[in-house]
């Protein structure tokens, strides 16, 4: 079971007519249970790629396949690809349990309750079920958001700068915890960040995106050890 992105192109309409190419013929594979981080400066197209894989942006050219089968014609809600947003996007009119159980519609109540409790334990927020999301701290919100994304057991979990909104200390601590949770949950993940430290901590392999192109993809040691181009070296600061 794996994700395969082939020559994907994503464009946006430009302000004065015409189009801006955000993602330019990017190809990559994510194996089952693997965590791949996409690293790059802001505006390099990494979030657009994530949104295209999720089905939130149309793919102009290329293909997105799961186990060899194209998912381009599968609507967002049937893809089984989870997406965790930078600011969590929790539903404020639901409590913590209501947020986490959102993707569990159709499951019997008792099972939903157990699953919510299990996930709260996984993210270290035992007993938070009835808390209003408005009362949570920034770090707690992102933990709930992560639990909510994991709850429906997505075949692929994508995380779009999940820790960027947090302050530096918390970000470094949480990066380790998120890496641990993703490994333990054994979930295939695509993790977007602009933070080098975070990418190294979380990922099995790191892809560097620059100006819409995937400039390099490999294990962290390879990427930092032998940057594929001067642009990559400059971005990584090596």
């Amino acid at each position: 079971m794996s994700l395969s992105v082939r020559d994907v192109v994503v464009t946006y309409p430009a302000a004065g007519g015409g189009v801006v190419t955000a993602v330019d013929r990017v190809s990559l594979e994510v194996a089952r249970g693997e965590v791949v981080a996409l690293l790059g400066p802001s505006g390099c197209g990494k979030s657009s790629l994530l949104r295209a894989v999720a089905g939130l942006e149309p793919v102009v050219a290329g293909d997105v396949r799961w186990d060899g089968e194209s998912v381009l014609d599968v609507p967002v809600h049937r893809r089984g690809f989870g997406l965790m947003f930078q600011d969590g996007q929790l539903f404020v009119h639901r409590d913590v349990a209501g947020n986490i159980a959102y993707g569990l519609a159709g499951m019997p109540r008792a099972e939903q309750r157990d699953r919510v409790a299990e996930l709260l334990e996984l993210v270290g927020l035992e007993g938070y079920e009835r808390r209003s999301v408005a009362t949570l701290s920034g770090g707690e919100r992102q933990r709930v958001a992560l639990a909510r994304s994991l709850a429906p057991r997505p075949r692929l979990l994508m995380l779009d700068e999940p820790l960027s909104a947090l302050d530096r200390n918390l970000r470094e601590r949480l990066a380790g915890e998120v890496a641990e949770i993703l490994r333990r949950a054994h979930v295939t993940s695509l993790y977007v960040t602009h933070d080098h430290h975070e990418a190294r901590t979380v990922a099995d392999r790191v892809g560097v995106m620059i100006a819409g192109r995937l400039a390099q993809l490999g294990a962290p040691n390879e990427v930092w050890g032998a940057p594929a181009s001067p642009a990559v070296a400059e971005f990584l600061g090596v």
Binding site: L56, H77, R78, G80, A105, E121, G124, A185
Partner: protein
């Protein structure tokens, strides 16, 4: 986090169905949601109004513009257009001059009981025009408490009533902005040696200008299209284009003149709306705003605005309503409830064909139908218009849809009623004898306000909330129910209240369409004050009190349901 081993997540393979088309349920649903109200608007607005306009241009199947020259050459037309512009200008100027101090006192500073006064100031805006006309008449007429001023039937009386209506528009629009202005700009001016007056003129006033311009253009629009209040207070001497359309149609049976006047009205209204739109966009990209900030009212510093506002509230707003309420208990035989008892009759010398209570029952039944129509259609429009699609084409289509559904705001209710009269009275659609015509016309009038109440609430939802729901497996319907739904419910209370209140008080279109045997309450009130006899006048006053109380109750219930103030009104 935790050390307990979690079970390995085995991705349950979901049923993945390839879809034949990329046109998803969501887009399809939005298309249908847009088509239903569009079809309604086409049949019950574009067709009648378009036919009416065509009447001004076409005679015997040929384009003929001579009607314009002929109608505009009439001294009567020139007088009416002059009066419309004069009344609207005076009313707008007075409302702004009085409303700006009011905005300061009611929003920039704070004092005990401020909430009550704010609520009180809002009441006139939603009162039926007929009620306001009668209230001012009974205050200013010979024998009324202010009869000695000799203002009955004068331009001043009309302007006062227009200010009564629109004072709250200025106070709320300007006050909302003023409360959020950063006070440090004024403080900086003071440290640079500016007196309070100079600081106000050079710093505060320029910052408020977009809000004042926006309020003024809306007030001008309301004044220029005033109908019921001018019809009652203006008598034979004063009118607006709007009342003139009614007079030309119902008394002189000159449909061509009415059509030409409707077009003139459209031009005036379009100009006012254009200015309002320009001012609104200036207000939106406004200055440094912050959370509402108020300082306590200080009588020495704030003496002038406090005094102006006190006089306006007591003399202009409270006096007419209090006088109306008091006089409704007054009969030639002394104080009694007779006026209210008479509501069960058809009036002196059978002025009416039905009792006032029967008319009230008609009004309520029509208001329920009109509210259901306006809210269902308005919500559909708001849902579509609140989307921000990717493609520029779709964006333009949505902006166009938004503008199309604001049109009824610009086209007078009288024009709509008149348009119904000349189109829906013969095949293919003969609804003249049917009772649905009045609720439909009222729904058209209420539609823009419903859309403007609901749409900002939906637009405030972060689109990524819907995306988050979709990535969690929610289909379009579930996304709508669980993400839009909770926000929609909050906006719905106010929308229902607005639609119901508008329908209860609607007079312009209803005056055309109400059948003699099924009048609404405003129609009955208008008929009663046109008949001689103290008994009929007393009944009109009592009926006005009932209608005013009913409207106020509906609006206060609706305001209570409103949790935030995202809406524009």
């Amino acid at each position: 986090m935790t050390t307990t081993a979690a079970p390995p997540e085995v991705a349950a393979p979901r049923v993945v169905r390839r879809q034949a088309s990329r046109l998803h349920l969501g887009a399809l649903g939005l298309g249908v949601a847009a088509l239903v109200p569009l079809a309604f608007l086409a049949v019950f607005f574009a067709w009648p109004v378009g036919t009416l306009i065509a009447r001004g241009f076409v005679t015997d199947g040929a384009l003929d513009l001579s009607g314009f020259a002929e109608v505009f050459a009439r001294p009567r037309t020139q007088r009416i257009i002059g009066q419309t512009l004069l009344q609207a200008t005076l009313g707008t100027t007075a409302a702004v001059l009085l409303g700006v101090p009011g905005a300061y006192v009611l929003y920039r500073v704070s004092f005990p009981g401020q909430r009550v006064v704010r609520a009180l100031v809002t009441v006139p805006f939603v009162l039926p025009t007929v009620v306001v006309g009668v209230a001012f008449r009974s205050l200013l007429a010979e024998g009324g408490p202010l009869g000695f001023l000799g203002l009955d039937g004068t331009l001043a009386a009309i302007v006062l009533a227009l200010v009564f209506f629109n004072y709250s528009v200025v106070v709320r629009t300007v006050g909302g902005m003023w409360a959020r202005l950063d006070p440090r700009a004024t403080e900086a001016a003071a440290t640079l040696g500016a007196s309070p007056a100079r600081a106000f003129l050079t710093v505060t006033l320029p910052a408020l200008t977009p809000a004042i311009a926006s309020a003024a253009s809306v007030v001008f629009l309301f004044c220029a299209t005033a109908f019921g209040v001018v019809l009652i207070l203006g008598g034979q001497r004063f009118g607006t284009i709007e009342t003139e359309i009614w007079v030309q149609t119902t008394q002189f049976l000159d449909l061509r003149a009415a059509a030409v006047l409707s077009i003139a009205q459209l031009v005036v209204v379009a100009a006012a709306l254009w200015v309002a739109g320009r001012a609104r966009s200036a207000r939106e990209r406004a200055l440094q705003l912050r959370a509402a900030h108020t300082a306590p009212l200080r009588l020495r510093r704030d003496a002038v605005p406090a005094a102006v506002t006190g006089v306006v509230v007591l003399v202009l707003l409270v006096a007419p309503l209090a006088n109306l309420a008091v006089r409704s208990f007054h009969t030639p035989a002394g104080w009694s409830l007779d006026n209210y008892r008479n509501l069960a009759t058809t009036g002196g010398t059978n002025a009416l064909t039905v009792t006032v209570w029967e008319a009230l029952a008609n009004s309520l039944r029509i208001a329920v139908d009109a509210t259901v129509l306006a809210v269902v259609l308005g919500v559909l429009v708001a849902v579509v218009v609140s989307r921000r699609p990717r493609s520029p084409g779709a964006r333009r289509a949505i902006a166009g849809l938004d503008a199309v559904f604001m049109l009824p705001l610009g086209v007078s209710a009288v024009t709509v009623g008149f348009g119904f009269l000349i189109t829906l009275n013969r095949p293919p659609l003969d609804l003249r004898s049917s009772l649905v015509l009045i609720p439909i016309a009222q729904a058209i009038v209420a539609l823009p306000l419903v859309v403007r109440t609901v749409m900002p609430v939906l637009r405030a939802i972060d689109p990524r909330q819907r995306e988050a729901a979709a990535t969690l497996g929610a289909g379009p319907l579930r996304v709508f129910a669980t993400i839009d739904g909770p926000h929609l419910v909050r906006a719905l209370g106010l929308a229902v209240g607005f639609a119901f209140a508008i329908s209860l008080g609607e007079f312009g279109a209803t005056a055309f369409l109400a059948r003699p045997d099924r009048p609404t309450l405003p129609v009955v009130i208008f008929r009663l004050i046109g008949r001689p006899g103290a008994e009929n006048l007393g009944m009109a006053l009592a009926a006005c009190v009932i209608l005013a109380v009913l409207t106020a109750v509906v609006m206060s219930l609706a305001e209570r349901l409103r949790i935030d103030r995202t809406g524009e009104w």
